[in-house]
Symmetry: C2
Subunit: 202 residues, 2 copies
């Protein structure tokens, strides 16, 4: 849009921000903005409220890295979950995928990414120290690496498992039910559940 | 998500609403919600504010059907625009596309859709009466149909132009620079400008 744009600054700003969302470009951002303005009562108003509520209530769990309205999060405080098993994931989206599959009833640890020389992600950028601390302090017996079956994911699992050496903890990873090269968040629930059941020693 | 979902109601509601946006499904809605929560300061907070501002300030122009923060809109009140020419579009997105192209400096009229037996859209669902009223009242000399080169778009243009018969107004349509079957909002600016220049009598 140029300075002489017929679009007011309010909607122009809305479009600019929407274009920053993953999967949306300038054109789809305009389409979404128009849709929102047309559905002011049924969509724009509740979505603005939902975003404000999320902004005000969502926090990152300082224990596991999950996001929730409580810290520690609901999963970390759930007494029915086995506290001696920690499932390590790259991202909160992967935690959600495992929970949708009902694949495991344990605790989680969100690394917050994977090691990547290309993207400049080193060990200090991931939540590794806190995993070591938890493993040492909480009587953890097993750590399951539920990371993507990519080179980066597997490299990260090996790196983190090396850091856990000597802590007397069983280390496993998802079975190769996960298609090689595939990403966790794309899989169906049955495949995820099978991959948890058939986890192998690392 | 089930009732025992680890995702709190705030983020679940956010995901449900995001999934209603055009082009987003449940999976991409989850991805967007996570992205928003991760970028709380730089994206979620400003986007929530931008949506609230849009909700509070954006109105539909009662003259032309454009959306703006003023009614009548900026385009309807612009004295540099030729008030004797009205460009008829299906949707506000098409008005934006023509404005981005700088294709014409006239007034607009947004029909709000096209005639479609399949979708149950009849003449009474479109802003046709107000176009006739404007044409009669405002000394309009020419009406340019800038509608999609689809069967529905062309049918709608013919229907509306029939309603304007006897009003002593020149009626034209975009030149066939618009690819047949194509949609206006996808075109490059040069094609749109050429199509306006080479408009033909209807
Ligand atoms: Zn937690
Ligand atoms: Zn207007």
């Amino acid at each position: 849009m140029t300075a002489s744009s017929p679009i007011g600054p309010e909607i122009e700003r809305l479009i600019q921000l929407l274009a920053k969302l993953p999967g949306l470009g300038p054109r789809s951002a305009r389409r979404v903005a128009l849709h929102l303005v047309k559905k002011k009562e049924s969509l724009l108003t509740p979505l603005a409220a939902a975003m404000a509520a999320a902004r005000d209530t969502i926090v990152t769990c300082q224990v596991c890295g999950n996001i929730d309205t409580a810290d520690p999060c609901t999963l970390c405080r759930d007494p029915r979950r086995d506290p001696s098993v920690i499932v390590v994931v790259e991202d909160v989206a992967d935690l959600w995928a495992l929970e949708r599959a009902g694949a495991v009833s344990a605790r989680y640890h969100v690394l917050g990414g994977v090691l990547s020389a290309l993207d400049g992600v080193g060990p200090e950028d991931l939540n590794v120290e806190s995993l070591i601390d938890r493993t040492r302090a909480d009587g953890v017996k097993e750590i399951i690496f539920a990371v993507n079956a990519t080179v980066e994911g597997q490299t990260t699992a090996h790196y983190v498992s090396d850091q856990l050496a000597g802590l007397n903890v069983k280390i496993s990873r998802l079975a190769h039910g996960v298609p090689v090269g595939g990403e966790l968040d794309y899989l169906d629930e049955g495949t995820l559940a099978a991959a948890i059941r058939q986890r192998t020693a690392l």
